[in-house]
């Protein structure tokens, strides 16, 4: 049996979602409009890929495009129109 394949596909390492660059799937990307942002953190909670970066004291820094798959949820839920989706292609 090749070492590359674990027994029955068992995943024995945690935190391995970091290995999967979901950003590859993207056809749209979010732009963070800093002047409108009130740092409410709603987009952070909604992001399915947990790729919106922020400081420990809740200051939004921007999106990690390696993992952002361009779903647009963040732009949709932002109460201040502080995230704008742009085409990647």
């Amino acid at each position: 049996m090749s070492k590359k394949f674990s027994l029955a596909g068992m995943i024995t390492k945690d935190g391995n979602s970091l290995d999967l660059k979901t950003g590859d799937w993207r056809i749209r990307y979010p732009v963070h409009l800093k002047e409108k942002c009130k740092h409410c953190m709603l987009c952070v909670v909604y992001c399915p890929e947990d790729c919106i970066r922020h400081t420990e004291d809740a200051k939004l820094l921007g999106m990690d495009l390696q993992y952002c798959k361009g779903c647009g949820v963040c732009a949709k839920v932002c109460p201040f129109d502080a995230i704008e989706m742009k085409s990647d292609v």
Partner: protein, 391 residues
Amino acid sequence: MAIRERLSGNEAVATAMKQINPDVVAAYPITPSTEIPQYFSNFVANGTVSTEFIPVESEHSAMSACIGASAAGGRVMTATSSQGLAYMWEMLNIAAGMRLPIILIDANRAISAPINIHNDHSDSMGARDTGFIQLYCENNQEAYDNTIMAVKIAERAKLPVMVCYDGFITSHSVENILLMEDEEVKNFIGEYTPEEYLLNPDRNISMGPLALQDSFFEFRKQLADAMVESKEIIKEVSSEFAKVTGRNYGLYEKYMLDDAEVGIVILNSSAGTAKDTVDELRAKGVKAGLLKPRAFRPLPYVEITNELKNLKALAIMDKADSINAYSGPLFSEITSAMYTAKLDIPTINYVYGLGGRDVKTDDILTVYEKLLQIASSGKIDQVKHYLNVEE
């Protein structure tokens, strides 16, 4: 010290389960295996075992619960028959695909329709390619012994095991049996210590993931390889068992086969009946013999083919019919192995005993008579025969 007892097949298996004391038993009753969860739930209620008994609402759920419990790290068993096994089918594949050492007791029964509660092998033969190891048993002693050995085989091979014995004929017939001491069973099977399990607080793991074009094939190959490797594991465990009990089991049993000219391949209880027929024939100077596979999965095709090579005529007996306009499953597989081994012996197929049609020594005798004709003429008029059926 062996304990001399008289038990039915179901009682014997329930006793083995009591001695194994698994972590979880999840079962849904169905004739003729009903007595197993019935006896076992008594053991649970009386505190004889420390097992968590899950009385599920269907066989699909029984196997699902077994899969969950086994993945969690438990030693897990269930029992079923016929339609129950059919209803489990989807989950059987998952149990094997996830490489979980679940023990399934199958009191073999016909598959409907028409509805019938009696014995044949249609149920387990229908599940032959699910990735379960299948051990077939001639009598209650073998059912008991194989249930105990199955635990060790499953855990070492990381494959589920199905222990198959004939419904009613074995399950409900009281016969002499030699039981092991509780302590002997406990020492023989040892503690189950899975390498990986979901309830391990020190490791976060995930089981049964999605695997697509880039890896699914490799995982299925792993499973196929495990079945190949299980052959040696069965032999190993059986020789360890022989050291404790003195009872020897291989991948198959042969009876008067070495110098035989006419032979049959036959599973389970009818093999016992056929041994009496062989004795009758031998007394008349006829060189008759038989081979009884114990492991049908893995199929010891090289070994079996090698044992058959000196026969002048061979009948492969199927207590299940493949509705394929050709032959029963045992015949298809063994003749295919013979072909690749370039073993050219006149071979015929008999389908027998469906739905509990009784198989007498005289019925088996007609098979040997047919073989003697073939051995002397070298001619086969037809490949597939039905034993004792009204046309």
